[in-house]
């Protein structure tokens, strides 16, 4: 469906406004269901605890680490901690 057809169905003739709401709608759809997904790989660096998440991320679906609970080089989902660990990261990096 083209934007034009959607505008006709909705009954709106302001393109800018329609495009803005379509973008909002696409975000909402990706929040509720998974239509467009992306998988990125990031290097884990020794003593570096914090990794910035992508700006385009709408909903995080899974986090996997290499060799988590295996020694075969497999990527497995890692659990989320309920509480922050006692050992803090000294340099906050």
């Amino acid at each position: 469906m083209k934007v034009k057809e959607l505008m006709e169905r909705v009954g709106i003739n302001q393109t800018g406004r329609a495009v803005a709401y379509i973008k909002d709608g696409l975000e909402e759809i990706n929040m509720l269901t998974e239509v467009h997904t992306n998988l990125v790989k990031i290097d884990i660096t020794k003593d570096k605890r914090f990794y910035t998440l992508s700006n385009e991320m709408i909903k995080m679906m899974d986090i996997r680490c290499k060799n988590h609970l295996n020694s075969k080089g497999e990527y497995r989902s890692i659990p989320r901690m309920l509480h922050k660990p006692v050992v803090k990261d000294a340099d906050n990096i």
Partner: protein, 344 residues
Amino acid sequence: MASTKQYAYYLEGNQIAIVEKDTSFDNNVDSRDYSPGIARQEWKSPQSTIVDGLEVKYTYLKDYRLMSSRHIGWNLTSTTDERNTSVYSPAYGEISGYLTFFFPAIAANNGILDMSALNDGRNIVVHNHLFSGKHKIKVASAQGYIQTHTKWSSGLNKLEEDDDGPNPVFNATETILQSGATSFNHGFSAGDYIFNTTAMGNTDNQGLFKIAELSSDGTTVTVDKNYYSDTTTSGDLASVDAALQGETFTSGDLFIPQALLSEGAYIDISSGITFLEDESFDIDLPNYLQKALVYYVKGKLAEDAGKLDIKEYFMKEFKKMIEKHENSRISGLRIVSVGSHAIR
């Protein structure tokens, strides 16, 4: 064979914190951590570097379509690279507060790649784990970088000459020096990367370098490695010993921003990409969800008009359609697999 590790994560703002269970035994009897029982309970920052060790899967807003098959390469200027719809961008950083991608040469100690074939104002799609998505070119420079309109307060450093000091000097001993400028190298650390975007007399003095040492008087940076784009790989860099040429820089302001590496990242630069900007864009959604999107837009328009009951009706229909779409993908019996933390 790699050893088994145990990771966990927690969130802090827009960052994900990765922690690893430290299983090393502390043999110091004076330590509070003495005994395996205590040490094994400690979650610490990652204990080792793992290339591509972390995988993050997420949903994103796809408001563009690539209208041709993708062909990723390095160059834009050579006739053999005409087919390139995308280019690898192995390094990035910030120039004047804007996100910038750096393009080292495809040969060792050979400077930078000319990116001026791209026109300013063109939309591009970046595939880089931090900045994936649509961006617009602000400056496509012959000096090996593409500056975008995306604002980014990166906190990265830059080497910039002090206008009141003597001219900066590049030496064959792999040093960049400005005598008397006692804060010339401040803010950097050994191991940081810098990308010289300034037009130099010797191309060898341009491009991507790694800092080896910083002088304590603040005037000198010593580099050890020059990084170049390795065309035998899929977007990786290779390095050789740097070979700076003796040169005194006299023609303007020397400016060398800090760079971060993003090997394997690439940018779609084809003019054949269409963006969700006008009425001709074909919305990239399954057919059924396109109808749900119609309800969403109707709902938002009703909300604008203050008709909240009508808005609620459309939003209810919107959510109902999404739910039906979700359920339509599930059929037959379900199999429950053993959880990763189950007793085996």
